[in-house]
């Protein structure tokens, strides 16, 4: 049979193909979206990209909370009573069709005035009339065409976002002033008659002060606004008794400015205004380049980014009201619908709970709960609606309590001395020493030149090139890593990564894959007939375990079942031609003795006789064993798992012998374990994925979150690694180390320039034009060197990645 794919979403249509308008659809949802779009002449959506859509989800009652004024107020940016503006995050935005349809929302509802997509951030900004329309209807409209927005507790707290653009302003001012000052200083540099005879041209002599004071005026905003970060940082460093790199820079800027002002005031020379503005301009470019932001990623997420804003509270006699999550009190009765998240710890009162804790633990298996059982916050209900009673407020829940730990308020960068700052300490002392020695020599020989030499040394030694080495090296490496799907938060993480000596992994979801699983069968061999029946029974079930088992079993003839019943949280029962089959938990299939295994099992019985069980094992990511064997040579390795010891034997076989394996680790245990090793001097790299690793990721020196889909939730971390590049981890650490040596080499290069400059300065012959040539030359050659070297590094990484992909194919 020909495989048909859905015209709207591109999924395989399977058995039940819906035909409409000569196109095939996989479900009613997709068909409805097509109908809506074709009614409104928007079928262009399908021309730009084939099957760009998503299946619209059932959202009945989910957005009722948007009728509450107090919640809506927090979500809209602008409101004048008639029009409102709101920005919604839509995870599905992925192609040009998405942009097109979302920017033509006004064709679907005339109350929408305009909508604008930010593709990088995956947001759409909607302006609409409030007459006969509301935020709730906008959300429902988006959901009806498969673009369901994602509204979380995070939106509630941030409200209007403030974008910091001060660095662009500073860069613009410095660049503007640098260009103008350079042109204004050219007349004096190119005044050839002055160089020959010592007397400059008449007109220039007359207008010299004008040019000079104009340059002075241009440099004022540069020194006092654009360069203020360097002064602030130097001041902070000195107060903390640290000679960071900003100290010699701030000193250089101050000396340049004062010396130049004195020079032009007393007509001693043209001043160094071009070097001054150029220096600050180059430094700011370095700062700008170092900032690589991934607008579609967030490194700061905590539980709030995926907790709902509001849930339904049941009060009195089945009266349903929306209540803000922060206002939930102990004893409140809550209604959790299918696919909704449990926001607080509580006790199940009514309904069959089948909870997916994958956000919390990384484990995709759902957990069945009966009424009276305790439910923990962070789980997602997956079958029907349930009623529960809260036993804690949100902040006091088991999971959210983790965030009250001090680790989350600590600034990791603050306690870390970068290579540049370490070098700067010696550099500053040396330069001050040279300046003092040089000045005292001239004091003895020719005292009129002493001040000149002293200031010249401080000007020419201003470590612009040193300060640029690290930003350009790390900045470029950040971009190279980004292309290989390793997203690093900032450049100091690269330096930290290079110094790591202990690597700790989480198990579930980190070294195991969520997508692939293995299962083995134990028990009586199933007959061909039974196997066919089993397969067909599983086919009808949507339970994740059924789906996995179905994929594992070999294909069989498709038969129509005569009877099929799914018992939520227990198993499935089906019959065909007098043969009956039960698949599910041990008690459900009538197998009394519960076996001692710790792994997930599915039991099978046919015609009321017990047959056997399927035991599921984690499937480890490709290359885990190889990666561990390469890493073991240089690092201490450990695995911290929140799970039980079921996989102990498997891991022993797979991993090098000296890898430490710890099981049954609670989130706090993981954090404490890392803390303990850090007090013993270890530099820890933690690799995890779920919310339960959040504490460990924050505590470690470098925390990397592994993600199968970088658009979905990742806990707060220093870097996010796409799961498909897991085997490259070793190479990324190695590349960070190479980057460190590139920085060291460029330090050597810039010191050579400094020596040349010092020669001019000490001999008292530093002319403004010499400084104006030397300073940009050293900066540019550093930029060229670091960019070139890191690109070679990047090419090596790319080649390795490509050869790896080819091998695995």
């Amino acid at each position: 049979m020909e495989r048909q794919t859905c015209f709207h979403c591109g999924d395989n249509c399977g058995q039940n193909v819906l035909e409409f308008d000569g196109k095939s659809f996989c479900c009613n949802g997709c068909k409805t979206v097509y109908e809506i779009l074709s009614e409104n002449d928007l079928t262009c959506y399908y021309d730009l990209q084939s099957s760009p859509g998503a299946i619209p989800k059932e959202i009945h009652g989910k957005y009722d909370f948007l009728a509450e004024e107090s919640i809506v107020d927090k979500l809209i940016e602008f409101n004048d009573g008639k029009t409102q503006i709101t920005t919604l995050y839509i995870p599905h935005i992925h192609c040009s069709s998405c942009i097109w349809i979302l920017e033509n929302l006004n064709k679907l509802n005339p109350q929408i005035l305009s909508s604008q997509v930010n593709f990088g951030k995956k947001t759409v900004r909607i302006t609409y009339h409030t007459k006969d329309f509301s935020l709730k209807e906008a959300v429902l409209l988006l959901s009806s065409i498969g673009y369901e927005p994602y509204i979380s507790l995070d939106d509630f707290n941030t409200g209007k976002q403030h974008i910091d653009r001060s660095l662009i302003y500073k860069l613009a001012i410095a660049g503007f002033a640098f260009g103008n000052v350079m042109f204004l200083s050219f007349p004096e540099y190119f005044d050839l008659s002055a160089n020959r005879t010592g007397v400059s041209e008449f007109w220039l002599e007359q207008y010299k002060p004008l040019f000079r004071w104009l340059m002075f005026a241009f440099s004022l905003p540069v020194v006092f606004y654009a360069a203020q970060d360097y002064f602030i940082s130097a001041y902070k460093g000195l107060r903390a008794k640290l000679l960071n790199i900003d100290v010699p820079i701030a000193l250089g800027i101050t000396v340049l400015f004062i010396r130049s002002t004195v020079d032009i005031s007393f007509n001693l020379g043209s001043g160094f205004f071009d070097s001054l503005t150029g220096l600050i301009f180059f430094l700011l470019i370095g700062k700008f380049f170092q900032q690589k932001t991934y607008s579609f990623l967030s490194f700061e997420r905590d539980y709030k980014s995926y907790f709902p804003i509001a849930v339904t509270k049941i009060s009195g006699k089945h009266k349903e009201t929306s209540i803000q999550v922060h206002n939930i009190k102990k004893g409140d009765r809550l209604l959790i619908r299918n696919e909704e998240l449990i926001p607080v710890d509580g006790i199940l009162i009514k309904g069959n709970a089948d909870i997916d804790y994958s956000f919390v633990t990384g484990e995709s298996e759902t957990v069945g709960k009966q009424s009276g059982d305790k439910l923990f916050a962070g789980g997602k209900q997956t079958s029907g609606s349930i009623e529960m009673e809260a036993i804690n407020s949100v902040e006091q829940s088991y999971l959210t309590q983790l965030w009250s730990n001090d680790v989350f308020n600590k600034n990791k960068e603050a306690g870390f001395t970068s290579l540049t700052n370490a070098v700067s300490k010696y550099f500053t002392i040396t330069i001050l020493g040279i300046a003092v020695i040089g000045a005292s020599y001239w004091l003895a020989v020719d005292s009129s030149k002493a001040i000149n030499v002293f200031t010249s040394i401080l000007i020419v030694a201003c470590p612009c090139a040193i300060a640029l080495s690290a930003p350009f090296t790390y900045g470029n490496l950040l971009r190279i890593f980004g292309k290989l799907k390793f997203y690093v938060k900032n450049s100091s993480v690269i330096e930290q990564l290079a110094s790591v000596n202990t690597i700790i992994f989480d198990k579930t979801g980190t070294i195991t894959s969520n997508k692939k699983r293995r299962a083995t069968y134990e028990g009586e061999t199933l007959t061909a007939l039974e196997e066919a029946l089993l397969k067909n029974t599983l086919r009808s079930s949507n339970h994740p375990l059924s789906r996995t088992l179905y994929d594992i079993l070999k294909a069989n003839d498709i038969v129509t079942l005569h009877h099929f019943e799914e018992h939520l949280g227990q198993g499935i029962e089906a019959s065909h031609n007098n043969n009956n089959i039960k698949v599910g938990s041990a008690s459900f299939v009538g197998h009394s003795q519960d076996t001692s295994t710790l792994n997930t099992t599915v039991h099978v019985s046919t015609n009321n006789t017990y047959k056997g069980k399927f035991t599921f094992f984690n499937s480890y990511r490709k290359g885990v064993s190889k990666l561990f064997n390469t890493l073991k040579k240089h690092y201490d390795l450990a695995i911290l798992s929140g799970d039980n010891q079921g996989e102990l034997e498997n891991l022993r076989k797979l991993l090098p012998a000296k890898t430490k394996l710890l099981f049954n680790q609670k989130p706090e245990d993981k954090l404490e374990y890392i803390k303990y090793h850090q007090t013993e001097g270890a530099k820890v790299l933690m690799i995890g994925d779920g919310l339960n690793d959040a504490g460990a990721l924050a505590q470690s020196d470098v925390g990397i979150a592994i993600s199968e889909n970088i658009n979905v939730f990742t806990p707060a971390c220093d870097a996010i690694l796409d799961a498909s590049k897991f085997n490259l981890l070793n190479k990324f650490v190695k590349a960070s180390k190479s980057a460190m040596s590139i920085v060291k080499w460029s330090f050597v290069l810039s010191l050579i320039y400094n020596c040349i400059g010092l020669y001019f300065a000490i001999t008292g012959r530093l002319a403004p034009v010499t400084a104006a040539i030397l300073m940009p030359l050293s900066s540019i050659s550093i930029v060229v060197f670091t960019t070139f070297a890191t690109n070679i590094l990047g090419r090596k990484l790319n080649q390795y990645d490509k050869s790896h992909v080819l091998k695995s194919q």
Partner: protein
């Protein structure tokens, strides 16, 4: 020779005008999203096609 005053002030004023224009552009958020406009530009043909056969909803506007 005083013409140099006029020339200098004109050149500085022109430069400052462009500089302020840049700051205003940054402030208005023009540089916040540098990717979407490059795609949006390609849709302009499709949009025109829609407008030649206006639906009822467009007339109300």
């Amino acid at each position: 020779m005083s013409v140099i005053y006029i020339l200098l002030s004109i050149s500085v004023i022109v430069a400052v005008i462009f500089f302020i224009a840049f700051l205003v552009a940054v402030k208005s958020g023009q540089y916040d999203d540098s990717y979407t406009p490059s795609i949006r530009m390609l849709f302009e043909d499709e949009l025109k096609k829609e407008q030649t056969k206006p639906s009822k909803t467009n007339k109300i506007d």
